[in-house]
Structures are given as structure tokens and as C-alpha cells.
Amino acid sequence: MNQTYGLIAAFDTTPDLYHACAKVRDAGYSQWDALTPFPIHGLDAAMGVRRSKVPRFSLAGGITGFCTGMSLIFWAGAYEYPLIVGGKPYFSPMFAFPISYELTILFTAFATIGGMFFLNQLPMHYHPVMKAPQFVRALDDRFYIVIEANDPKFNATATRELLARAGGKDIAEVEA
């Protein structure tokens, strides 16, 4: 017999899912997730998900970009090949600013997207829940809660009862 990845339960409306998530959160589960076709307002709080860490990557990227622009222009113009153009100084933060500004944005974008992929563990072309027959509606019009079997509180019967009490429908096992 195949190992179990966890239990999946379906919900038809966003309020149903929202309240069910709050119940699963209060039951103390940690290895679980909600699958939704679109981001739902306030669901992070209902699930107890903390604020995303993506901004840390963005900040690091932005600082790197700005420093890259300034130091590139300083190094090239005032150190590597000093050249007088139009009687202007070899280096000034004024004329280096537009390029540094653009590089700040460029590097922030790379870092934000890279950070998002890293934190979301993407690309991940295979995941057990994708094999579940219910999954086709997860990105269409239905909402799911998946509780993983490796959650310390997981218990095949108790977890199934919790999901049923929270209003979950078509509760099924997901193969690992």
C-alpha cells in the first residue's frame, strides 16, 4: 500500500474555507496548507501564516543595485580610465544617480522574484497534491485544505473528524 501524504478536504465557498482554516489553526496543526484559486483576504491570519520574508530579499537587492551603479561609475570614470568630458568632474554622485537608481530597481526586481521562488520552493513541478483527482479544481473554483501526515498532531481518524466538523466535503487521502 502506498504511503499517505495527508488528508484533503474540499470547501465550496470562501467563508467556509476561512472558518475551517481558523479551526485547523486552533487545533494546533503546523504542517498543513490551503489551496485556493486566488489569494483570499485575511486567510493568512486565519491560518496563522506569518508575514512574508520576501521584503528582506528585496532590500538586499536594492542596496546591492545602488552600490553597483555608484561603484561602477566611480571605478570606470575616476580610477580605471579617468577622462575629462565637457570639463565635468571624473565622478559625481549627481550624474551617477540616474543609472544607480535604475540598477536599484532592476536588482530589487531580481531579488524579489528570486526570493519569492526560493521561499515558495519553486520551481517544483511535482507535488503529491497535484496527483489528487480533486486538484484540477483547486486553481479553478474550489477551495481545499490539506493536512500532511507528517504533522506531529496528525491522526488519520481524528484529523478526518476535525475536517468534517469544519465543514469539509469529499475528504480523501492523498498518496505520497
Partner: protein, 477 residues
């Protein structure tokens, strides 16, 4: 992310003052549900290719071939095939570059600035508008790359990108033209990334639908680009944050790009160019022209694919009003330029503006005024905004007017500069005209591919703005 405002109970004061509940405009008409939205948007990509698409695609390819032939002729013969000569050494390429880049700006405005301002009506038009941005940047990039004639210089070290040339000399980082290289390439890159990030959840939906119907090749292709997206809320949490940050950085980006484009002119000493009003004036004009193009593209799309429930009259109203606002700002800038030319008491500046309005290029100036200042004023009237055909026709005038704005600014100032003995009159050569005409084909070619293969609306975002998406039921808050 912080909890939604409606998570906390309503403040007690509300019971006392009893504020009027303002009705919110519905963003999706006829109470459509989630599944309807999926079927509608995916159906466009999954269905059989309509006959009109092939006709338009063929026509676009023919028109695009004008650009290709024009560029091949230019590169094989030399830049002399363009009509540039003293004193106007720089006209057609930069006019078209600024025109196309400006068009792109509305896409970023819709996707970034309206996202930050929580204008939910942006959801049904932002995908197509961002695609428009990317394709407009492609068309814009053709001109600066090819105007050097020997295009291999555009990618060789020492010319555009920061590598020293064969003599070890670096680019002139003091030059606005070099700033432009960074601004436009950053803009193109970030626009593509922003667009792609928005696409990931919808590509996941497409992947699952193709998997279910057994079309495994397409499931693989869409699945590859969907990166294994599975709509988990822990992913959405990071995704939403990343999207918000991208919107936050795209806003200063879009403002800076056209500011830097305007520096190409404002930093020079030519009368009519050397003005501090240029950056805000160019940005307003860019958004104005971009919204003109968004209307030009979205109204036929709405009619052909019967998207009236998703692009409602409210959406058209909003777009018309932004066009009106930015068009009026542009009109204000035109009059302020004249005022400053007089008030500044610089004879060259004064002459440049009198010459613009009444000189050899007066015809172009008055086309510009007619299209950019007068056309948008029709959008004050609800009856005009509700007449889709008329809105579409007016949007064409906006596109024409903004092209003439760039032509007027660039050509009139160069044709009559400080030295009367070198004054001239610039007319484009036939090669230039065809090359520019062809870029509309290039743009349409890319846009038609987009509407055939990519979901034209962000399903996940449209679903999130219908009442059923609210986890607190339909209680107003």
C-alpha cells in the same frame, strides 16, 4: 500580511453616525461565478483559432515586413537612406522611440500604480495592458538600435552596455543617452518579469485543464512556465508580497523612465528642449498616449470575445477619465511652455515657440493641439463615454496626437536652431515612413500571438474581486 480591515469588529462610533453605505460598482456583471471566469478566459486559448485571427495575423505579418525590409535596406546601405540631414540629424528614430515607449507606460501604470492605489477595476485589463507595454518596448527599441546603422555596434563593448571599448574607454556615464540605455533596458526587463509573475497562477490553471483533457504536450509547455504553481496559501502569501513590491518599484520605475527619456532633450541647450517642465510633461503625455492605446486595443477585444461582463462600462468610464485627466495635464503643459517662453524673456526660447505654432511646422502643431487637447475633452460627457465606437475613434486621435507631439518637439526645435544659415526643413524619406508604419505590424503580430496563447485576463485577480471571493460574505465594509 496584516489582517484585513474587516477582521476587527466595526468601531462603536459607526452606530452613532450611521454613515451612508456607498454602493460599489460591480466589476463583473451578471453575477458570474468563479468557474464561469475560468471557462471564459481559458476558452479563448483552448478554442479553435478563429478565422478573423488568421486574417489579422496575416495582415500584421505583411505590415511587419515593411519594418523588416526597411531595416535590412538601412543596414545594407547605410543611414543615408533615412531623411536626416543638417540641421535635423536626429528625428524619425527618436520620435518613434519616444512614441512607443510612451505607449508602454499605461501598461505599467495600470499594473503598478493602480495596484498600489487599490483600484480593483485594473484586474480585467492589466494583463493585456502589460503585454502592450512589452510589445511597445520592443517596437521602441528597434529605433535606437538601428539608427546607428551598423547595428553590431549596439551590442559591441564600448557603445551601449558598460564595457570598455577597444581603446579601454568607457561609456560617458554623464550622458542622458547612456542613462536611457539603463532606463529602457531596466524597464523592459522589469515589465517582462512583472508580467510573467502575474501569469504564473493562470498558467497553472491552464496546465491542469490541459492535463485533464489529455493534451499532454500543451500541459507540459504551460506547466513548465507555471513552475509547479499549486495555489497554496503559503505560496500566495509570498507571491502577494512579491507582487506588491514589484508594483512598488515599478511605480518609480515608470516615472523615471520617461523622465530620463525627457532628459535626452531637457539636458541639451536647444531652445524648446531646455526646460524643466519636460519630465512631468513627458510622463503625463506617456500615460495619456498609453491609455489611448489601451482603449484602441481593449474595445475591439471586448467586442470580439464578448467580454462585456468583465470589461464593463465602468472600466471604460475609468479609462476615459484617466485619458481626460492626463490629456488636460498635457494641454496645461503646452500652455505653460508658452508662458515660460514669454516670461523667461529669452529671445531664442520665445522664437522657438512662436515658430512651433506659426512656422513651417504649424500644421503638425495644430494637429497635435487638436488631437491631444481637444479630443479628450469629449470624455467629460457620459453619452460619449458610453458610445463605444466613438470612444474607440477618439482613442485613435489620441494616438495620432501623441505621435505628433514628439514630432513637433523634436523637429521644430532642430530645424530652427541658433544659426539661421543652417536652418532647414525635415521631411521623412519613404524608407523611414515604411519602417515606422511596419512597427504597427510588429506590434499587432506580437499582440495577436499573445491573445491566442496566453490567458488575456488574470483569472486569479478577476476572481478575487467578485463578491463571492470575500471570506466575510457580502457584508459591506
Amino acid at each position: 500580511m496584516s489582517a484585513h480591515a474587516s477582521d476587527s469588529p466595526a468601531p462603536a462610533i459607526l452606530a452613532e453616525v450611521r454613515p451612508v453605505v456607498l454602493p460599489r460598482r460591480v466589476l463583473v456583471e451578471n453575477h458570474r461565478d468563479f468557474h464561469w471566469i475560468t471557462e471564459k478566459i481559458c476558452g479563448i486559448v483552448e478554442g479553435k483559432t478563429p478565422a478573423w485571427w488568421w486574417w489579422c495575423f496575416g495582415l500584421a505579418a505583411v505590415v511587419a515586413s515593411f519594418t523588416v525590409s526597411g531595416l535590412v535596406y538601412l543596414v545594407s546601405t547605410g543611414v543615408g537612406v533615412w531623411g536626416h540631414a543638417n540641421p535635423v540629424n536626429w528625428a524619425w528614430d527618436i520620435v518613434n522611440f519616444v512614441f512607443w515607449i510612451g505607449i508602454g507606460h499605461a501598461g505599467t501604470l495600470i499594473s503598478a500604480i493602480l495596484c498600489l492605489l487599490r483600484q480593483k477595476w485594473r484586474t480585467s485589463i492589466n494583463r493585456a495592458a502589460e503585454a502592450m507595454t512589452i510589445f511597445a518596448v520592443v517596437c521602441a527599441a528597434i529605433f535606437p538600435v538601428f539608427h546607428v546603422g551598423r547595428i553590431w555596434f549596439a551590442v559591441m563593448p564600448g557603445w551601449l552596455f558598460p564595457f570598455p571599448n577597444a581603446n579601454g574607454i568607457w561609456q560617458n556615464f554623464r550622458s542622458p543617452l547612456e542613462w536611457d540605455v539603463f532606463a529602457v533596458s531596466t524597464y523592459g526587463t522589469v515589465s517582462v518579469l512583472f508580467w510573467y509573475i502575474g501569469l504564473i497562477p493562470d498558467l497553472g490553471t491552464m496546465r491542469d485543464r490541459f492535463t485533464q483533457t489529455g493534451n499532454l504536450l500543451r500541459a507540459r509547455i504551460y506547466g513548465f512556465f507555471a513552475m509547479g504553481w499549486r495555489g497554496s496559501n503559503r505560496q500566495w502569501s509570498n507571491y502577494e508580497m512579491a507582487y506588491l513590491i514589484l508594483a512598488g518599484i515599478s511605480t518609480p520605475l515608470v516615472l523615471s523612465v520617461h523622465t530620463i527619456v525627457s532628459f535626452d532633450f531637457a539636458v541639451s541647450l536647444i531652445p524648446g528642449w531646455h526646460t524643466t517642465i519636460f519630465p512631468p510633461y513627458f510622463v503625463a503625455g506617456a500615460i495619456f498616449s498609453g491609455f489611448g492605446m489601451v482603449l484602441t486595443l481593449m474595445l475591439p477585444l471586448r467586442a470580439v470575445y464578448r467580454l462585456e461582463d468583465l470589461i464593463t462600462q465602468y472600466h471604460i468610464d475609468c479609462m476615459c477619465k484617466i485619458t481626460l485627466a492626463t490629456g488636460t495635464m498635457v494641454g496645461y503643459a503646452y500652455s505653460m511652455e508658452f508662458f515660460i517662453a514669454w516670461y523667461g524673456a529669452n529671445p531664442y526660447e520665445g522664437f522657438a515657440f512662436i515658430n512651433r505654432a506659426f512656422g513651417h511646422y504649424a500644421w503638425a502643431y495644430w494637429i497635435m493641439i487638436g488631437c491631444n487637447v481637444i479630443t479628450p475633452q469629449f470624455f467629460w460627457f457620459r453619452s460619449v463615454r458610453e458610445n463605444t465606437t466613438l470612444v474607440w475613434i477618439l482613442s485613435i486621435f489620441v494616438n495620432v496626437g501623441m505621435w505628433f507631439e514628439r514630432f513637433v518637439i523634436i523637429v521644430t526645435s532642430l530645424a530652427r536652431d541658433f544659426l539661421p544659415s543652417s536652418w532647414g526643413y525635415y521631411s521623412p524619406s519613404i524608407v523611414e515612413i515604411f519602417t515606422f508604419f511596419g512597427t504597427f505590424g510588429v506590434f499587432s503580430f506580437l499582440f495577436l500571438l499573445f491573445i491566442r496563447f496566453v490567458p488575456i485576463m488574470p483569472m486569479s485577480e478577476v476572481k478575487a474581486v467578485i463578491p463571492a471571493a470575500d471570506p466575510h460574505g457580502s457584508s459591506p465594509h
